[in-house]
């Protein structure tokens, strides 16, 4: 390793930063691209129904559609509050 290389490796390379940022972003965008377009609307309506009975937050619910070889799974995750229903 030459002296020049020593100085080069001492600073964080901006190219590797670019690559990291891109990998995260592109993975996220590919995933949301493959989701059906009705999913956000479905999530909103489901949440509204649940909120009629239980006092849950907007962010207490996650919705996820997974595709396996021959079946699709709609996964619904709701964190219920400790308190009793309204």
């Amino acid at each position: 390793m030459s002296l020049l290389d020593y100085f080069r490796s001492s600073k964080t390379s901006s190219a590797s930063l670019a690559k990291e940022r891109l990998q995260i972003l592109v993975a996220y965008e590919r995933a949301s691209d493959s989701q059906p377009s009705y999913l956000p609307e479905l999530q909103k309506e489901l949440l509204a129904v649940i909120q009629k009975y239980v006092n849950v937050n907007q962010d207490a619910m996650t919705i996820n559609l997974e595709q396996n070889d021959n079946r699709e799974t709609l996964e619904l995750n709701i964190v219920l509050p400790d308190a009793h229903p309204v």
Partner: protein, 269 residues
């Protein structure tokens, strides 16, 4: 049957028109009858890069509207008689391009030409959509830069879901990567993403790396496709790309920094 190639990127300014001009000239110089179409209605520039801007009489919109025949609108290239240019309209807006109109033009050109190169406008609007819709092959022009790589990835999604081949469930469009404005020196110093970095994200079939080169600007100043500047690295890179596309086996170059005089002297590579 002609092969339809779309030159696309999503992002603007990465070298789509430079690439369209270069590869269409390259294909024609290899003996294949080729036509290059400018889809950038309202912002045409292919004519300027090809040096035929003063010979434009009719354009693609005139043909679609039946105001001129295809033969009246086609311009024969002055450097190569196997190459023709179909210019975009400069005055009308992009909505003048219609799916049916473009389909008819491509059908007619297919009878006469071996390769049809579609120079896509930037963005994902009508012009870009129609440029890629009928394609068999896609040349994705990407710079080693975050916004360009992201837009290329987005474009790949569109190619695989919104093209005619996708809609008909046919064999998908073949996608090729052309990494342009590459500086091996800046890659080495860690300032620029390398070919491997970009390929880790896009993983496409690489047609070639085009180094950042002064001759791209001087060629466009003069209105001659850069591939005709055989001494320039960019010109050579495009010549390699055309050869590889046609199935020739050319080793990739311009990826690593040129070995300097001193390194050569002392036995480095």
């Amino acid at each position: 049957m002609a092969r339809i190639i779309v030159v696309t990127s999503g992002k603007g300014g990465v070298g789509k028109t430079t690439t369209s001009a270069a590869i269409s000239m390259g294909l024609a110089k290899k003996g294949h009858k080729t036509v290059v179409i400018d889809f950038d209605v309202g912002l045409r520039n292919l004519d300027l890069i090809m040096g035929c801007e003063r010979r434009v009489v009719y354009d693609i919109i005139n043909v679609i509207n039946g105001e001129a025949t295809l033969n009246q609108a086609l311009i024969k290239d002055k450097n190569c008689n196997l190459l023709s240019i179909l210019p975009a309209s400069q005055t009308r807006n992009k909505d003048a391009l219609t799916l049916e109109g473009v389909e008819k033009i491509l059908e007619e050109l297919s009878k006469d030409f071996k390769y049809i190169v579609c120079d896509s406008p930037a963005g994902i609007e009508t012009g870009a959509h129609l440029a890629m819709y009928f394609a068999d092959d896609a040349f994705i022009v990407t710079n080693p830069e975050v916004s360009s790589v992201r837009d290329s990835d987005r474009m790949l999604g569109i190619l695989s879901s919104q093209s005619r081949r996708a809609e008909r469930g046919e064999e998908p469009i073949k996608e090729y990567l052309l990494l342009s404005r590459y500086s091996a020196e800046r890659v080495k110093s860690g300032e620029m993403m390398s070919l491997d970095d970009v390929q880790d994200i896009l993983s496409l079939h690489l047609l070639g790396v085009i180094p950042e080169s002064k001759s791209v600007l001087t060629s466009s100043n003069a209105g001659t496709p850069v591939i005709l500047d055989e001494k320039s690295e960019a010109g050579q890179a495009y010549a390699d790309i055309v050869a590889r596309y046609l199935g020739e086996n050319k080793p990739h170059r311009f990826i690593d920094e040129k070995s300097g005089f001193f390194r050569k002297l002392f036995g480095g590579k």
